[in-house]
């Protein structure tokens, strides 16, 4: 069975009562109203269907943690309701209730008990918990002798030892070494394949792209966007800039080729034209060949005087993974004292060492190394091109390495 989640008009307000006596009176006399209400979450509605993996993103204070607390039931909603079907496992924090003086095994018993499992169930799962944690003999040593990574491994192992119907994870996986992160991520993916519904709260856009079927963007306690992961992630990215630049607008549209174009910025500088050209002939290309000398040519028109102008590029594959990216801040080619009315041409010649597939180019016109200070214009997936392999030997992957086999053979001589 897969878990289901339905959230309807969920809202949470923190109440100010003026005095604690007033609050206590309200428990017994419902007509007593609070002085002030501060809503941290309002009118949130969404569903997670059986087997679906949904990512929740949002800035700090957007209401993600409150939403999770309401769903898991540690705090109760002021309005609306949460309907859950199936057994829920929530990992809001790893290693809750661990006692440093107890051994890993004792702590595993204890925290599985805290999840409501009986002794027999825990005993049955114990060998697997131990195996997954991979702490070896330390499993029977006091936890205070553990490294923090080992403690995380035991905690995660316990938390996921019992297959739930709905798994709720709150950034718990951003800790630990990369081996552990991979391993725990694999387990989530395995759960997903087995039909477990997943709700994942994270700041890692990569996790959202690679695990989730859908994403929800929370902002100021409301659902701002609910849709496909790339749509939500790119919108979120643009939204971060808005925080810094008040008069910024974000527009999104899905192109015919399936790529999502997200445009944001304050507009002091704009991309007039972005082309992929053959470096030799200068012809515009829709598809590049592996090994071909090509050139990205961008024309920027300046609408207002700008002290510093930086151009950044990001090349992404179809899954949204960044293949390559840099900007003229890093290359120390910042354009200074740019005047209104100017047109600036940026040329970037390079050899196409990408593997066969479809790629996108996202340019950004900014003033420093990030788009958070000034975002003049940022366009996700403005230019889309294909790479085809015509002249080279067959290979797979997104990278064409200049690599050649060298093989030597030798006749072994046996002593007689």
């Amino acid at each position: 069975m897969s878990g289901e989640l339905h959230v309807q008009n969920l809202g949470k307000s923190y109440r100010q009562w003026g005095s604690e006596w007033r609050r206590m009176a309200s428990w017994f006399f419902p007509f007593i109203a609070p002085r002030e209400e501060h809503w941290v979450l309002k009118d949130v509605s969404f569903s997670i269907d059986p087997g679906e993996a949904v990512g929740v993103v949002g800035q700090n204070g957007a209401g993600k943690s409150t939403l999770l607390k309401l769903i898991t039931g540690t705090t109760s909603p002021t309005q609306g309701q949460v309907q859950l079907r199936g057994r829920v496992a929530a990992i809001l924090e790893l290693g809750m209730g661990f006692s440093p003086d107890l051994t890993g095994r004792q702590n595993a018993y204890h925290s599985a008990g805290l999840m409501g499992y009986s002794q027999a169930e825990i005993e049955r799962a114990m060998p697997e918990i131990k195996a997954f944690a991979e702490v070896g003999e330390y499993f029977d040593q006091p936890v205070r002798t553990y490294s923090s990574g080992m403690q995380m491994r035991v905690a995660f192992s316990v938390a996921t030892a019992f297959k739930p119907d709905l798994l709720i994870v709150d950034e718990a996986l951003s800790v630990g070494d990369s081996y552990f992160q991979h391993k725990s991520f694999d387990r989530m993916r395995q759960f997903k394949e087995e039909g477990v519904s997943i709700m994942l709260v994270t700041h890692s856009m990569g996790d959202i792209r690679s695990l989730c079927d859908r994403a929800i963007l929370l902002d100021k306690g409301r659902v701002l966007k609910d849709g496909q992961p790339d749509e939500v992630v790119d919108y979120y990215n643009a939204l971060i800039a808005e925080k810094e630049n008040a008069n910024l607008n974000v527009e999104q549209r899905r192109e015919k080729n399936g790529w999502l174009l997200t445009k944001s910025g304050t507009g002091e500088a704009r991309v007039k034209k972005l082309q992929l050209l053959d470096a030799v002939s200068g012809d515009e290309l829709a598809a590049a060949q592996v090994g071909q000398a090509v050139e990205l040519r961008l024309e920027a028109s300046i609408r207002m005087d700008i002290p510093n102008l930086v151009l950044g590029y990001m090349i992404r594959d179809k899954q949204g993974h960044v293949i390559w990216g840099t900007n003229t801040w890093h290359t120390r080619q910042i354009q200074q004292d740019v005047k209104s009315g100017e047109t600036i041409v940026f040329r970037l010649p390079f050899t196409c060492t990408l593997g066969p597939g479809s790629y996108s180019v996202s340019p950004a016109l900014v003033s420093s190394d990030t788009h958070l200070t000034d975002n003049y214009e940022w366009v996700d997936n403005l230019l889309v091109f294909d790479v085809i392999n015509v002249n080279q030997e067959y290979f797979i992957g997104s990278n064409w390495l200049d690599a050649q086999f060298s093989i030597s053979r030798q006749q072994e001589e046996y002593a007689q």
């Binding site: 923190y14 109440r15 604690e20 609050r23 206590m24 428990w27 017994f28 607390k69 898991t72 039931g73 540690t74 705090t75 109760s76 929530a90 809001l92 924090e93 809750m96 209730g97 006692s99 003086d101 107890l102 004792q106 018993y109 204890h110 008990g113 805290l114 999840m115 409501g116 499992y117 009986s118 002794q119 825990i122 006091p142």
Partner: protein
């Protein structure tokens, strides 16, 4: 109310393992381990006996054991330590476990049950130690000892009712956590544990009637020192008060539960 109990029943393994864990952690890293749990109340008895026995021992009527005062002290201390441990730990129970309550879903009622369970274990150990000392002093309590569980139940009900209510209120008004230990000090000295009720001047003595602990503590002393059954009438009244208080505390706890987590 019924839901609370069934939730606690589902989490029975957790409750038992928590009590066990609590005892274990006390044992693990100290040489004397669990002995400290009984050494603390016993050392208190020793101090009082040492300081006060010369003054007071003559005033215990009808007992010819020269250690009568020490036995009297230990009997009262046994009852008081159970009461005090439950009240004191319930007082900060929700605050101490704030992080757990915020991050995990489990029946909150499990927490006071764990406290009660571990206090009961401690108290039983203390009782066994006291019996051993009684034996060494040549005093063997009579069959009335079997009334002791009844006293303990009333004692626990009173302590839990009071502690739970204070613990819930303490989440919202932290002053309670500061004032209660002071009140507990007063309560200790207004209860005839280290002195006999009859040394209090006649005109003040009826004030003691308002102290709900007195029927319980004198019950302990009756059973363990005088080989009497407890005063059932007085105890019955306290049992009723305790039951009422406990019911009120559970109601308060249930009403406050939704807001409690937001205040931690």
């Amino acid at each position: 109310m019924f839901g609370m109990l069934s939730a606690a029943w589902r989490y029975r393994f957790f409750i038992f393992s928590s009590i066990k864990t609590e005892l274990q952690t006390k044992f693990i890293r100290s040489k004397l381990g669990g002995l400290w749990m009984i050494l603390h109340p016993l050392s208190q008895v020793l101090i009082f006996a040492f300081v006060l026995s010369a003054v007071l021992s003559a005033k215990l009527p009808g007992i010819d054991n020269q250690y009568a005062y020490a036995i009297y002290l230990m009997s009262g201390t046994l009852g008081w330590s159970l009461f005090a441990e439950i009240v004191n730990r319930c007082l900060t129970l929700f605050i101490d476990n704030g992080n757990l309550l915020k991050k995990l879903v489990f029946p909150k009622i499990a927490l006071p049950l764990i406290v009660t369970g571990s206090a009961l274990v401690n108290n039983t150990l203390l009782f066994v130690a006291i019996l051993a000392i009684f034996g060494a002093l040549g005093h063997i309590p009579g069959v009335e000892v079997f009334w002791l569980p009844v006293l303990m139940v009333v004692n626990i009900a009173l302590a839990l009712g009071l502690g739970l209510a204070l613990g819930v209120l303490n989440v919202f008004m932290r002053d309670i956590g500061q004032i209660v230990p002071v009140i507990m000090q007063f309560l200790f000295w207004f209860t005839p544990i280290v002195y006999m009720a009859n040394i209090i001047p006649e005109e003040y003595r009826n004030w003691l009637e308002f102290n709900p602990l007195i029927p319980i503590i004198t019950g302990y002393q009756n059973i363990l020192l005088y080989n009497h059954a407890p005063d059932w009438a007085g105890l019955g009244v306290i049992a009723l008060i305790a039951a009422g208080l406990l019911a009120f505390a559970l109601l308060l706890f249930r009403k406050a539960s939704p807001e409690m987590v937001d205040q931690l």
